[in-house]
């Protein structure tokens, strides 16, 4: 069967993997996360520009690891036994004891820093995977209608941000026409000004277009007062509930129950507000077995990680002192194997035409 999977399913799946990756610096597990993400994206992305942008997230991940390594060499606390790179150390006064400026870089320290970078990079890659698998615009369709002002801002941001790269490229090229080398710190203003103006113009044009096409229109009668009361009470309840949860001395009734009631009131407020903005959806994305399966697979990987954190936290780290081989925890790996199942078990997305749209014959 050929159809798009519900965007929310892909996002939940990807967020579960991101959350799992945040708990480990074990290189085997991180590599497994990356492998699962890449495999599923390659199998299930469509040919849209969003799908093509996955590469950029991979590049961003590599940059993050490199920056983390450079920072470690410059200001990180060095430790270990195996010297890697001799760097002279600057002596700092005692009040700056937490920072080590320069100093010999050891393998263990560099490895630790690199793996921390890799952990962040993996989480970013998970977000990139969600973007590639389900365009954020399709996700915004299910955004609560009551919050349409925020919705407009999100749509504008999601649309205009990817065009920034193109703008920067264009203006940087134009700088050379005025006789300046392309990349120079001094030229920052000369690139930033036109790009910002361009972006602002585009954002306004898009917002105007949405307005002109009826985004956020509501009929005369609105039950604004009820909506306001529900939302206000809900927010109040949530605040008190969170306070109760965090403050161990307050009575138990103030905690979880209040939070739940508050959240329910918030949802009711959103529902009531959304009802006044009539909107329909052309081709509602169906929610069926593949969606449940995808979420379950993501959840399985996350639960496996959570269980391992409780039972065997050492297996999720990298033994650095003394340096050793990383553990091979069976449970998380099994969970990740499950998380890869959507690569084959979900419907194939419709093929979006490649770069060039077919040239039409004269009508």
């Amino acid at each position: 069967m050929i159809r798009h999977l519900h965007p929310a399913a892909w996002w939940l799946w990807a967020l579960a993997l991101a959350a799992g990756a945040s708990m480990t610096t074990n290189p085997v597990l991180l590599a497994a996360h990356v492998g699962v993400l890449v495999a599923v994206v390659l199998a299930r992305r469509d040919g849209s520009p969003w799908g093509r942008a996955f590469r950029l997230y991979a590049v961003l991940g590599v940059v993050i690891v490199l920056v983390r390594l450079v920072l470690h060499a410059l200001v990180g606390l060095k430790f270990g036994d195996i010297p890697l790179l001799p760097v002279p150390e600057a002596h700092l006064p005692s009040w700056a004891a937490g920072i080590q400026l320069g100093g010999t870089v050891y393998l263990e320290g560099a490895l630790g820093a690199g793996l921390e970078g890799a952990r962040l990079a993996t989480m970013i890659l998970a977000i990139g995977a969600a973007n590639a698998l389900a365009s954020p615009k399709r996700l915004l369709k299910v955004f609560p209608a009551a919050l349409h002002e925020i919705g407009a801002a999100l749509v504008v941001a999601v649309t205009v941000a990817p065009q920034l790269a193109g703008s920067v490229q264009r203006v940087a090229r134009a700088r050379q026409l005025r006789g300046e080398p392309a990349l120079r710190l001094k030229g920052f203003r000369s690139i930033a000004m036109p790009v910002l103006q361009d972006t602002l113009d585009r954002s306004l044009a898009l917002a105007a277009a949405m307005d002109g096409r009826g985004y956020g229109r509501r009929p005369e009668s609105t039950n604004g007062r009820a909506t306001g009361a529900l939302t206000l009470l809900g927010l109040l309840g949530s605040c008190v509930g969170i306070y109760g949860l965090l403050d161990t001395t307050s009575p138990a009734a103030l905690g979880l129950p209040t939070l739940v009631v508050g959240l329910l009131l918030c949802v009711a407020g959103l529902w009531s507000g959304g009802r006044s903005v009539p909107r329909t959806i052309y081709r509602r994305d169906p929610w069926g077995a593949p969606e449940w399966l995808t979420i379950a697979c993501g959840a399985a990987a996350l639960v496996a990680m959570l269980v391992t954190v409780r039972r065997d936290p050492a297996a999720l780290g990298m033994p650095l002192a003394p340096l050793g081989l990383p553990a091979l925890p069976v449970l998380p790996l099994a969970g990740l194997a499950l998380a890869a199942v959507p690569a084959v078990a979900t419907p194939v997305p419709p093929l979006v035409s490649a770069r060039r749209a077919p040239r039409e014959v004269a009508a």
């Binding site: 026409l177 898009l206 277009a209 229109r217 052309y282 039409e360 009508a363």
Partner: protein
């Protein structure tokens, strides 16, 4: 509301923007009736866009400013109805379709407006199919919007507002970014809407030659005031007019013919008068302009320099990813001449210009200037002195707060005497205050500023990428004069453009590109007159007499000392 009520009525409408000394629109009274195609004309900055903006409440709800008077759209007052409240009756299509797209694919974009109007899904499915067929874009339904050509994007934009079945469609320069064929597609779709569905269409356009024949009524905006009437009446005195009407006004035809067909009928005597001249001109085609007494100095100058081309390109190739944008182009661009680069959107014109300039990608091939240097091998600072380029978005070059600061910066970066750029600017566009912000200038003034900045370095070669976008006729005539003057001083000038009338007025030679290759090159008259897409209006009216512009007709008649009243 009775059947005779106008669909749009403006009464005593005045618009004041904050911080503006004068009102953008002054005491405008206008009524537009059901099923009309209304053309809004006027010079840039005259208030056309403001007038269109008031129709759906975009002005002042979105832009700010103060509205006095009353604008009613099908009985709804825009003072109390925001644009979103009018979305079911009036659809607006902007100049840059891509800037208004909210979703990712054609089908979703068509449905977007209907989703906001809360139409039932079954209705939406039906209307999406109808709209796809109506605009001839059915095979593009799943295509990503960014991958479409300009003409296709504009048709999707029109379809996306049309699917909601508005009774009024407002378009602000819908064809300004399109090549002649893309513009034809869009205009054909529009006329079909008016004739088959009775949609009321209000369209503003600079390239009048493309739309004037479709208009039922013309509204002229002059400095914020408005007058309207049937096309032949308004164009008797309008400040802007397409060549067909210019010729009619010059020849004194009455009533003024608006279409090529009518003008051809009226032009029979004129053709006969010019006839013998034409045949003698067509015998010696290469020096035909000389025989007509036009640009004699130019032609003689260029003959002398044609032995040494200003730019010589051999085997230039540009690849982007898997796409070959420019395929092994050999080109000699003569010094002392204006060469026009034409071709569809995406034919590789921009890529070629950037590759010739040396800043853009060049995968293979050689480019040499008159002195044998390859611009790609020069440092940007030195290159600037040898070859200049005005990019498509000319304002990318500007980043300072005032015109004067931009000029000073240009003097410094090209190491010229201070005041060089300001002097050039004064020549190109007199009277621009130095303390003005560059973004507040009109399109023509912005272009003049960028041109002055680029000319400050004194390059022998000047490349311009689509400079006529957004320029009105007087601004275009001024640009044509400027380019002419540069060529007369021995510069090599290359202009990429879709504007056939501008080519007829300004270019000596035309290079036509398709799919990255040069498919034709030669003198303007030879190339454009024979092509149905590229022929200027005067050529169509006077064929087989090979004259391209009203100025050439005037010169040809003056040579025969024919009194114009007797034409």
């Amino acid at each position: 509301m009775t059947a005779y009520d106008p669909v749009i009525s403006l009464s005593h409408v005045t618009i004041h923007y904050p911080d503006a000394a004068e009102a953008a629109l002054r005491d405008v009274d206008l009524e537009i009736e059901e099923g009309e195609l209304v053309l809004v004309i006027g010079r840039t900055g005259s208030g056309k866009s403001t007038l269109l903006g008031t129709l759906n409440g975009h002005v002042p709800h979105f832009t700010g400013g103060r509205l006095s008077g009353r604008v009613r759209v099908l009985g709804r007052d825009t003072a109390t109805h925001r644009p979103r409240d009018l979305a079911d009756v009036i659809g607006v299509v902007g100049q840059d379709p891509l800037a208004g797209f909210v979703t990712d694919t054609v089908e979703e974009e068509l449905a977007y407006g209907m989703e906001q109007l809360a139409l039932p899904p079954a209705t939406m499915r039906k209307r999406v199919e109808e709209t796809l067929d109506l605009l001839g874009i059915a095979d593009l339904r799943a295509a990503p919007l960014r991958d479409l050509s300009g003409g296709q994007q504009q048709r999707v934009a029109i379809g996306s507002v049309l699917a909601a079945h508005p009774r009024i469609l407002v378009l602000d320069e819908p064809t300004s970014a399109l090549d002649p064929t893309g513009a034809e597609e869009v205009l054909a779709a529009l006329t079909r809407l008016v004739h088959d569905l009775g949609v009321t269409v209000v369209v503003a356009e600079h390239r009048l030659e493309r739309v004037v024949q479709y208009a039922d009524r013309v509204v002229e905006v002059v400095d914020g005031t408005v007058r309207d009437g049937i096309p032949s009446a308004i164009f008797e005195t309008a400040s802007v007019a397409p060549p067909v009407l210019d010729l009619g006004r010059y020849a004194g035809w009455s009533p003024l013919p608006v279409t090529i067909r009518d003008a051809r009928r009226a032009a029979a005597p004129l053709r006969a008068r010019l006839g013998d001249q034409g045949t003698s001109a067509s015998r010696g085609r290469s020096n035909q302009q000389t025989s007509l007494g036009v640009h004699i100095s130019l032609t003689s100058a260029s003959r002398g320099s044609s032995a040494s081309p200003g730019v010589r390109a051999r085997g230039v190739r540009v690849d982007y990813g898997g796409v070959r944008a420019v395929a092994d182009v050999d080109l000699d661009l003569p010094a002392g001449r204006v060469t026009a680069l034409m071709g569809r959107n995406g034919a590789g014109k921009s890529s070629l210009l950037w590759a010739l300039h040396g800043t853009g990608t060049r995968t293979a091939g050689r480019v040499s200037l008159a002195d044998g240097r390859d611009p790609a091998g020069l440092k940007p600072g030195v290159r600037r002195g040898a070859i200049g380029l005005v990019p498509q978005t000319a304002t990318d070059l500007l980043y300072l707060d005032t015109v004067a600061a931009e000029c000073r910066q240009a003097d410094t970066e090209s190491s010229r005497d201070s005041g060089t750029c300001a002097r050039l600017l004064e020549e190109l566009a007199p009277g621009i205050p130095g303390d003005r912000h560059p973004r507040d200038l009109s399109e023509g003034q912005k272009l003049a500023l960028v041109l002055a900045v680029q000319l400050t370095a004194g390059p022998q070669v000047l490349l311009l990428d689509e400079p006529t976008r957004g320029l009105d006729y007087p601004a275009k005539a001024r640009l044509a004069d400027t380019l002419r003057g540069l060529a007369d001083h021995g510069h090599t000038v290359v202009v990429s453009t879709h504007d056939v009338e501008f080519v007829a007025e300004s270019a000596d030679e035309v290079v036509v590109m398709a799919e990255g290759e040069v498919v034709a090159q030669g003198p303007t008259a030879e190339i454009v007159a024979s092509s149905p897409a590229f022929a200027p209006q005067v050529a169509k009216i006077l064929a087989p007499v090979p004259l391209l512009t009203v100025a050439q007709v005037r010169a040809a008649l003056a040579e025969r000392a024919a009194p114009r009243e007797t034409v």
